[in-house]
Symmetry: C2
Subunit: 194 residues, 2 copies
């Protein structure tokens, strides 16, 4: 065994110029989704990963906490979905594995496409309070990506845990990024390539 | 937004002395599970995380590829379950997001306790070919950990994807680590603490 003890995931350089100044606010859901979709499109255009973007916001202030993009192929890490990257960065910034802890603001995940089975499993552990989705599960599957086994009533299960869910915010724009990714001929990197 | 662009997860120093020399082999399932359970116990004893250990092996050679332990609280990262850490390190070592790619050996995840909903979602994306579990889902829930929504027939769903599943390997020893963790008074760090 190579005794590797560290894993590092790194957002690409272009992320700096893609984000507005830190004091910029995103008062409306559409503004927040606009950023998530823009990150997804930039990831496609820069060839740095799959057509998925996510961001975590403090809805009370409209401030951005963290941004994530899909890094699976570039980072050689199947875990590195946009939602996972955004969650992990937010937790580092705020200094806790629990974004739902007493001293934390209620935080919101905005993702350009409905989370896969892994990311749906990850969200309750993160402490996030709400999830806003752009493209639907079926939009993602339509271009060939596997989403894994998800129960159709996952939004209800999330609500029962105190995690609010809203879907179809900017769905058309989010789906267009997925369709453009497919048209670009870039890899649909499902679990097993042989 | 603090413009953090990197996330690093790091196994603690004690991992070096916990692992045998790199040419050591683990011919039997029980040997492999013995390592996973030992890592879980050492994580408890060193106070570096939850009572969960995992390792990835090449079953054809019996060689260890990577090891993982739960790093959630220490790393301030709710994603850092033992299975996720082992998968991410194996992918870095082998240089691909797809451990099931054509040029890869068939790899096996051995985990001291049945994976949670997030880790069950992550395994099909990883390319792993088999999963061996020690403690059962109910053993984990019995000490207070949330496992998330899992379908009882997940092993059948995995088999349908070409991922073999075996449970109850070393279950008694694995459950003992969970019970000792509970008795130690260490945190049961579920998703939301408020």
């Amino acid at each position: 065994m190579a005794r590797l003890r560290n894993i590092t995931l790194c957002l690409p350089d272009w992320i700096e110029s893609a984000l507005p100044p830190p004091d910029h606010t995103y008062p409306r859901l559409e503004d927040r989704m606009g950023l998530a979709i823009r990150l997804a499109r930039l990831n496609l255009e820069h060839g740095t990963g799959g057509p998925f973007g996510a961001a975590i916001f403090n809805p009370a202030t409209g401030m951005l906490v963290s941004a994530g993009i899909n890094l699976v192929v570039a980072s050689k890490c199947s875990i590195a979905h946009a939602e996972i990257v955004a969650i992990a960065i937010a937790q580092q910034i705020l200094g806790s594995h629990d974004l739902g802890a007493t001293e934390m603001p209620s935080l919101q995940l905005v993702t350009s496409a409905e989370p896969c089975a892994m990311c749906l499993g990850a969200i309750p552990w993160s402490g996030l309070r709400s999830v806003i989705c752009g493209a639907r599960d079926e939009d993602i599957r339509a271009i060939g990506f596997d989403e894994g086994p998800k129960t159709p009533d996952w939004p209800m299960a999330f609500e029962a845990r105190g995690i609010a869910v809203m879907r179809d915010v900017g769905r058309d724009d989010a789906r267009k990024v997925l369709q453009d990714y497919l048209a670009s001929g870039k890899p649909i990197y499902n679990g097993r390539s042989r």
